[in-house]
Amino acid sequence: MATGVQRATQLTVADLKGKVDPDWCPGCGDFGVLAAIQKALVELQIPNHNVVAISGIGCSSNLPGFINTYGMHTLHGRALAVATGLKLANHELTVLVTGGDGDGFGIGGNHFVHTMRRNVDLLYIVMDNQIYGLTTGQTSPTSRIGMKTKSMPFGNIEAPVNPISLALAAGATFVARGFSGDQKHLTELIKQGIEHKGFSFLDVFSPCVTYNHDNTYQWYRPRVKKLEDDSAYDASDWPMAMEKSLLWGEEIPIGRFFERTDVPSLHAAEPVLNEGPLVRLDPRVPADAARGFIEELM
């Protein structure tokens, strides 16, 4: 993604503090994601007026209210569609889309797939807690088989979606997974995702301490293994990434699964944007073009 122009005064984490404090439950994984986003923006020194955080609906989708950038708290499942339009109208902006697993893989599943194949230049962070939190604890598209929730009290019998494999199959050009319990690693992935020129998908294990008693910090901590620690792992190797994405259980990989930089992002592929961002253009159609439009009908 475009990193914007360096500004004279240093951007600090304090500058990025939102108008209100997060209303998440104490211990919620989303605190760690918010902090990592703020740290990444400070490290990259992107002026906050050039950043737009866009979310759908859900606990994690409240995030744009807690960070001092431009923000859009849109409709359930629709953040990626809104973000695509916004990015195409002003591609100088750094666009972060934040939301949950229900928002992104359930109601927003269609937009998720299509935004990836379009390679829209934005970073999509899913705070994946494998549960619906704001609606007080129902099964989500990433809930594991057997998990008991209020909507499936006898245990989930539907196979979960694998967001990493899905992203790889749909053509995402940057695919990573983080863990809210590992700030430093997560911040690094967010920076990479912002700097990647194209669609960056970052699935983050962000435990729900209120409704998901299966996938807790304690459950994740011994299981997550960083791909960066495996010297044989090659993130440019798509089949290798796909194979790794299928691992689940005693060992769950986190880190950058895949990145390719040879595919132009959507805005870079569109000649209409050669003159600069649409928002800066004169809205008038040139007179000779207008005459031509009418003449072809005569």
């Binding site: 939102g18 409240n62 003159e275 928002v279 800066r280 253009l281 159609v285 009418i294 009908l297």
Partner: protein, 604 residues
Amino acid sequence: MKQTFAVAIGGAAGQGVATPGDIFAKIFSRRGLSLNAYNAYQSIIRGGHTLLTIRTGPEPVTNMGDRIDLLIPLNQDTMDRHLKLLRSGAACIFNADTIKPGEAADGVQLCPLPVSELADITRNKVAQNTLAMGAGLHMMGVGFAPLEEALREQFRKKGEAVVAENVGVARAGYDYAAAHFTSFPNPLPKTEKRYAVLSGNIAMAMGGAAAGVKFYCAYPMSPSTGVLHWMAAHARKAGIMVRQVEDEIGVINMAIGAAHAGVRSMCATSGGGFALMSEGLGMSAMIETPVVVINCQRAGPSTGVPTKTEQGDLWQMLGAAFGDYPRAIVAPLDIADCFKVIPEMFNLVDRFQCPGLVLCDLLLSEGRLGVDPKDMDFSPAINRGELILPLDGKEANGNGASAGVATNGGYKRYKFTESGISPRAVPGVPGHTHTVATDEHMEDGVLISDEFTNPIKRRAMMEKRMRKVTGIEAAVPLPTLWEPREADVTLIGWGSTKGVIEEACDILNEEGISANQLQIRWLVPLHGEAILELLKNARHTIIVENNYSGQFARYLRSETSFVPDGNIRKYDGEPFMPHHIVEAVKEQLAGKTHLSVPMHEIMV
């Protein structure tokens, strides 16, 4: 009576009805004649039955009319369906090798063409069409040169051999008619006027370009797809980002995203797609980011009749999205108006920061009209309202918006104002960072929906948004009653029925029944008081609309308590013809009924 001439070409889809239609339209409009074309077709790529009617004349032609002067059936089915519609003075040109004429009314001239004798049908699959065009134009008193010119343009890309072949076939038909058929008594007139021929969809797309639309997206859906096609084909010349999206939910959200970045953004669909967009409209209203959505109505409910027209979506538009919010709804009156209405709507929604809905229908979207190029103004006034854009002052920008200046952090996106309009800064402007939310919020954008709801704040913000309605009402012109001032009957219509009601009034006036017309263009705001004032002395009022339940009649009653003396409704998928209205008015004035549902005589 206006002097008009209507030619109807019918056949199966894939038989080449469109090309002769285009060529006739070109020749008529280049003679300085007004024209209106309506294509009755079906949702099939090959087969079925299509009937294209092109009506032309020296004065403005606004609808398909009541009479076919020349029928060109390309297959037996078309002959069987429509020959009986022809009245004395009309003619029918057909391929004598393959089509048998039926019983024609007295005074109808049957014109059989020996196609295989006149052309090499093994080489030229559409020889009968080209021969018929040549023959027809001779009978209309049009010289051969305009046809040759049109054929050259049509086939230029296919090479000189194809051009020569088609010109030769056309000439054979022209000469054959000269030798064997009786020409129409009045040759087609000529005027010095010049017309562009376009559909309502093209008009709305061009109107968007003229309005400064920089972002257009859509999912293909009949009968709105023509807007997408024009936008896509002209995107690069007009500097418009055009995207085809995965579904209409994505469309409206993408359009709002682009609008939120500060550009004018538009999308079009039909009723089914519009239904999917409704939640997005609520977002546009709540975050106060303006967007323009076109709904090209087709016959519903559900998939309905995708290729047929109706005015059946009014209540869907009125009720789209939950909750109360300011909106504007306009129904263009004709194809030229489809162009004009778009810049008007953008100025309105930019000023009042709310969604604007354009309620078109298949009749206008896919119909074609000769429009005076002067009526397509590519330099309309652009008023972007209180908008703060991320400009650095160097841009040659006709936006009429101000560049962002730094504030001391005190910017309130939803500042309470008397008008309800709050200055709108878009992302990228320094010193104005804020988050917009579909949740209820305070002046600074902070939510009041979740942690601390607050009835006083909620009421204040609701009233701020709804205050904009007063401004919208004042910004939109009042409806007018068209002449004569005093009349035996007042016909009330909305949107696309303007032309046909106008012609029905002309006929009634000629027949000694004085009739006038109130045609509603702005549906929201409706200006109910003004409508009551216009109608207070009306002797007999009849609402004419293209739906079953009288959607406009019910809306007018709900807003004003006004109940008309009668209704004329049609919901068979086909548009009104003037005589449908004339006959219905007569039976209602005679006290026979209060509700007329005219029968469509043309089987299409």
